[in-house]
Symmetry: C2
Subunit: 412 residues, 2 copies
């Protein structure tokens, strides 16, 4: 049971911990229209060429380019109009030397044509004839077969998170069903504490508070691509917690225990996690504020987290550790838009040797993003309401100055 | 039928159009755990005080602060230990002068105590007595009743999009059900074109292509908080399109027609939208590339959009107009993280008098976000694959220089 008693910087703690997380969420097949935001489990290759036929990119006339060479306003080329390519059908008319065929954007180029003259560069001459006022080069205004994608090309790599245009790209190739994606990691959530009651409880007895961390953490979890399951409130009793964790463990990809904040309860959480299996608790405490008393464990290759009970600490620590773990279980990387840069409206003091996370409200000023810190006790969930993210004050600085740029982790 | 024949800059077109969109998505009530990302339909006020009782913020001893004044390592104060506050229960023991009660983080402060001494600043003296090594001020380490939220306080405004911590904040007050939110705007999507077939079609006939815009637009729509409904492919026939639109109109909050790219099909779309009602088409063409031939209409206060058929244009125009319309129908504002700033790795030429939108790949270099443009024909959906967003080249510049900062609209 290799336990690290020193308090580690968050980045070190995360690396050390995730290096031992060998479990991965299993693959499943879903339809493309349901796959937005999901992570590909396998690399996708193109089954066909796109486009599958030569297409016009403009409204105009399909021609042989050589027939237009030297054409100009003052000396047009005259071509015989021999038909029209209907949309969605093969171009049945052919284009011989001296001939042109009316074609619409997206229409199929007749086999013997090699370019399209835009309608703006033509004018009708007689019933069966048009004037070409500008020459076209071979291939001009034509999409070639496979110009977008060649058959067999690797189009999307395993681990890619599907964006709206990826949905379109898959559909363009006829890949509408059976897309191999990583299943959403199932994250079992427990809250411990004799003082906790279900959040739906209307009337509290003295000393009771509602369990709010299950709700906040399940929202963060869902937003990151996980499948949260709220498994309820457990009393401050090691055997009850052990029964809950060991029952949930086989079907979960990750477990999260939000513990009360008292020392005895935190110790109980760590000891109970260690009873589940090996290697057990790897990190007990991180150099961050809020959230120092965080527990990071691995059981049979699966991540298990013990979060501090106070709501701001629990949120910050789940963002620092829970979301990267979900991402790791899916075999992908954190989306870029989770972080942004912003300038500070005031000095933000800190202490060297730990990372501080300060809730901030973001706003635009003269095209730059500015951050206004909102200070509050980490017990107060309403400190976060109205803020947009967390300003990171790095490990080895004693604060950030007014006007300086800082990194802000966004909530969503 | 006030139609604007000049091609308007995108911002002007959007303002002119949305000013006439008076329809709003209706309200509904849902449970808090399902409300992540949803928009509040009414301002929420607090039904109670949070916390509802005085709580300790540390592990230690509840005392009368006056009993600790002057205490130090060399001259401790001695207090009689008269009990412990159990978690989740009322503090039944009282604290008289000269007495202390053991209390845990989150525990209820006994009525006659007014501060808590951290356990680190005490030491046991005898079985029934402790030494206090440091004084506390009245109120120290105590959360007062209502310190987080006072009863009746406005905690979240109408129009607010619920974030993970807002879910926790609502639950903290017992607001677990019947949260008034704006229903997801129902967006009916049509694609027109004789060349289009369903995306699930495996074998294409010559001249046919799969309808991919319905998939891309429905993904963007869902991501923005709308409820997309793919209503299928319509032939290039005004009566068929009219029947489709007029049938879908009553149950939809917004309609989107992705038209073929040829001039005749675009004109058919505009004319058919005008048959639906008043005021009809307000904008026919915007000063942007790609996407110029975009149609913006209002029918009985509801927005109707005609998008160009080529997939990149359709995506760009839905981001510029469709997403703001969904946001408008919900009575909220665009989330901040939809846009970011990035530096350009190369010169990006443009033409004054129109906005250009160039797909870019984003990456980090020395802590700054950089954008690498990916140029491609706007017909090619795979131009977008591997890109993270769209660089905006503003209306009245002829390009952006290498190293300059530009605005990037993210896809998700």
């Amino acid at each position: 049971m290799p336990e690290f008693f020193e308090v580690l910087p968050p980045d070190d703690a995360r690396s050390l911990w995730l290096a031992q997380v060998t479990h991965r969420a299993p693959l499943e097949s879903i339809s493309t229209l349901n796959a937005l935001g999901r992570v590909l489990g396998q690399t996708i290759t193109s089954p066909e060429a796109l486009p599958a036929f030569k297409r016009s990119t403009v409204d105009g006339y399909a021609v042989r380019a050589a027939d237009t060479f030297g054409a100009s306003d003052s000396l047009p080329a005259y071509l015989r109009l021999v038909g029209e390519v209907p949309m969605g059908q093969a171009a049945i008319v052919d284009v011989q030397t001296g001939e042109a065929v009316l074609i619409h954007t997206g229409g199929m180029i007749p086999p013997d044509a090699d370019a399209v003259v835009m309608v703006e560069h033509t004018q009708p001459f007689s019933a069966g004839e048009i004037e070409i006022l500008k020459p076209v080069a071979p291939g001009e205004n034509v999409l070639q077969v496979g110009e977008d994608v060649a058959p067999g090309a690797k189009i999307l790599p395993a681990g890619h998170r599907l964006q709206p245009h990826d949905i379109g790209a898959l559909l363009a190739l006829g890949l509408a069903e059976q897309i191999p994606v990583v299943s959403k990691p199932r994250v079992g959530l427990f809250s411990t504490g004799d003082e906790l009651v279900e959040p739906g409880t209307k009337i509290l007895n003295p000393g009771q508070i509602r369990d709010i961390n299950s709700g906040t953490i399940s929202a963060l979890c869902a937003q990151a691509g996980g499948e949260p399951e709220i498994l309820g409130i457990v009393r401050d009793d090691p055997d009850e917690l052990y029964r809950g964790l060991s029952t949930a463990f086989p079907d979960a990809d990750m477990l999260v225990v939000t513990a009360g904040s008292s020392v005895s309860v935190r110790d109980m959480t760590a000891e109970t996690i260690n009873r589940l299996g090996a290697p057990g608790v790897l990190v007990h405490g991180v150099a961050a504020r809020p959230g120092k008393p965080t527990i990071l464990a691995v059981i049979d290759g699966k991540p298990v987290i013990g979060l501090p009970g106070n709501p701001v600490s629990a949120l910050v620590m789940f963002i620092l550790f829970g979301i990267p773990a979900i991402v790791h279980l899916m075999g992908t990387s954190v989306p870029l838009q989770m972080r942004t840069q912003a300038r500070l409206v005031m000095n933000v003091p800190s202490a060297a040797g730990r990372e501080d996370y300060v809730p901030v409200r973001l706003f635009d000023r003269d095209g730059e993003t500015w951050a206004e810190p909102v200070f509050g006790k980490s017990n107060l969930i309403f400190t976060l309401v109205g803020t947009d993210g967390l300003l990171k004050v790095p490990l080895n600085v004693t604060g950030l100055r007014e006007g300086a740029w800082g990194e802000v982790i966004l909530y969503g």
